[in-house]
């Protein structure tokens, strides 16, 4: 109970890579858990919808190999949060396959547990019917039956509870499906009966790797230690340093509120936190409060396929064309609609992004344009790939040859960097479920893989 619990976070995202020397510096001390987050919704709904990973298999294997080869022989539990990027079944299976390969290649044996985070359409339909599901924020619509039925890969973010259970059952390696990012870290603290407020706040800091240090990066290792009534964080690379401000500031990161954080079944109140430098580069944090919610809610996530896309990237340098670019783009849309009279206009959408002018902020850009060239990206979004590609080809040829007023460059309007110019993007997804669901018992199923070694 009184011992100090050390958690090693190798990097901010499994597959991002990290200096092996930093990681090995961490292993010089007794470590109670190597924990790495592998998931994010940052890259949009595509990974979840399509069931594909964020990082390459090569990169994931490179990182996992270091963790398993060092951690397994020392009997240090290795926990992977939100496996494969989105933590749904295909992502978890992808991760397990890589782990199996590494264990076999290195003649290692590890008692491996999987915690699934998937939910069936039927389970969500029933929970919705029972009024147990609500939108996460005011700008998310209520869930409808058709929205649920159209969703792929429904997952929920797990808290520390099922991970602690897997640790109690003696797991050496734990592969979590979708998890609240700090949960796999907090689970190590909770398993050793440490304070949950400290464990979760530390998890919030460690899940991004060395991003809380200066200079910050997700591609380096960081060490957290939980004591009786405080925790400390320190860099494992002499090139970086943690400061009271870098740690306090990291508490801000990616969250909606600077000091009130909502997790599965609890609220973390960090308003009274104190950050102190106890030793040079070792920052201690206290007064992180864990408040258990009366109602246990978990965050559901799912994506649905909304359309198909084909796009083109081109440069524009002609000053006359640049002078009335938006008007010309409107005319191009008009001409394409006239050409495809037989296709209902609601079946497709043509969008222009004028990079160099207002590509990022769109119609909210307030700075006046004064460049001499822009990059134009146009896309056609349609019900089918064939329709998107057909219409995009017409947009491209119409734009390329459109004879605007005062034109002298009658050979063509677009500088394509690639041939062919038109790129079939494939399906486009949308986060269709991002809601809170009330639960009364642990819905996350733990499975032990009996024999990993072949």
């Amino acid at each position: 109970m009184s011992k100090h619990i050390r958690i090693l976070s190798p990097c901010g995202m499994l597959g991002y890579g990290f200096p092996e020397t930093s990681f090995l510096n961490g292993l010089k001390e007794e470590i109670h858990g190597i924990v790495v987050d592998a998931g994010s919704t940052d890259a949009g709904p595509h990974k979840l919808g399509a069931g594909v990973p964020i990082v390459s298999r090569r990169a994931a294997k490179k990182d996992l190999e270091i963790l398993l080869k060092n951690g397994v022989p020392k009997k240090i539990p290795i926990i992977i949060g939100s496996a494969g990027g989105a933590g749904a079944k295909p992502h978890v299976e992808w991760t397990l396959e890589i782990i199996k390969e590494i264990l076999n290649e290195n003649n290692l044996k590890a008692n491996t547990a999987v915690i699934w985070a998937d939910f069936t359409t039927e389970e969500i339909l029933q929970a919705n019917k029972a009024n147990k599901i609500n939108p996460l924020s005011s700008n998310i619509p209520e869930l409808t039956t058709s929205q649920i039925e159209d969703s792929f890969n429904i997952v929920a973010q797990m808290g520390h509870e099922p991970i602690v259970e897997a640790l109690e059952q003696g797991a050496d390696v734990i592969v979590c499906g979708r998890a609240y990012d700090p949960s796999p870290f907090a689970a190590v603290g909770a398993f050793h009966q440490k304070d949950l407020g400290l464990s979760y706040h530390l998890g919030k800091i460690l899940e991004c790797g060395a991003l809380c240090a200066e200079p910050g990066t997700t591609k380096d290792s960081i060490l957290g230690t939980i004591h009786e009534d405080y925790f400390t964080v320190e860099s494992l690379n002499p090139k970086r340093k943690c400061t009271t401000i870098s740690l306090a500031a990291h508490t801000f990161y990616e969250k909606e509120h600077p000091y009130i954080l909502h997790g599965p079944g609890f609220t973390l109140d960090l308003s009274e936190c104190e950050f102190n430098e106890t030793l040079p580069g070792v920052i201690s944090v206290k007064n992180s409060k864990y408040i258990k919610n009366d109602q246990h809610r978990i965050k559901l996530e799912a994506a649905k396929l909304v359309a198909y896309r084909t796009f083109v990237i081109a440069g524009i340098r002609d000053p006359i064309l640049l002078g009335s670019i938006e008007d010309i783009e409107d005319i191009v849309i008009q001409q394409v609609q006239d050409y495809y009279k037989e296709i209902p206009q609601e079946d497709y959408q043509i969008n222009f992004y004028n990079y160099g002018k207002n590509g990022v902020l769109g119609n909210k850009e307030t700075t006046a344009f004064h460049g001499h060239e822009i990059g134009v990206m146009f896309e056609v979004i349609a019900k089918t790939q064939e329709l998107a590609t057909s219409i995009c080809a017409t947009v491209r040829s119409t734009f390329l040859h459109y004879g605007y007023e005062n034109r002298k460059s009658t050979a063509g309007n677009l500088a394509f960097p690639f041939a062919p110019s038109d790129v079939e993007f494939g399906p486009v997804y949308e986060f269709s479920i991002y809601h809170l669901m009330e639960i009364t018992e642990n819905p996350f199923r733990i499975e032990f893989l009996e024999e990993v070694l072949q």
Binding site: S137, N139, T251, K364, F431
Partner: protein, 103 residues
């Protein structure tokens, strides 16, 4: 005349989930932090003007003294990564804050 950009150490934007953008402004001295906080010009109304959104779309505007920083979180008009979104990570939405003039 000093801009927020000149006073801040970190001035960034990011998604806080796929349905919100969060803006973080952090300082490396109490002096600069309290100069901005006490000027009282960082208000929901100013942010709504800068981002062409309504004040109701702003979910939070909070100063956190321990971190020498403040945070603004507002609703995304298009959720991250779907049709019509221009910034999947929400990482380039901070620029309009830079030129706020602090007395």
């Amino acid at each position: 005349m000093t801009t927020l950009f000149e006073l801040a150490k970190v001035l960034r934007s990011k998604n806080s989930g796929p349905f919100e953008i969060t803006l973080d402004v952090l300082f490396n001295s109490k002096e600069n932090y309290f100069r901005v906080k006490d000027a009282g010009i960082i208000t929901k109304s100013l942010i709504a003007d800068l981002y062409h959104i309504s004040e109701q779309q702003i979910h939070h505007l909070v100063f956190f003294d321990q971190a020498l920083g403040f945070k603004i979180t507002f609703a995304r008009e298009t959720s991250s990564g779907t049709v019509g979104d221009r910034d999947v990570y929400g990482a380039q939405q901070h620029a309009p804050l830079m030129n706020i003039i602090i007395k």
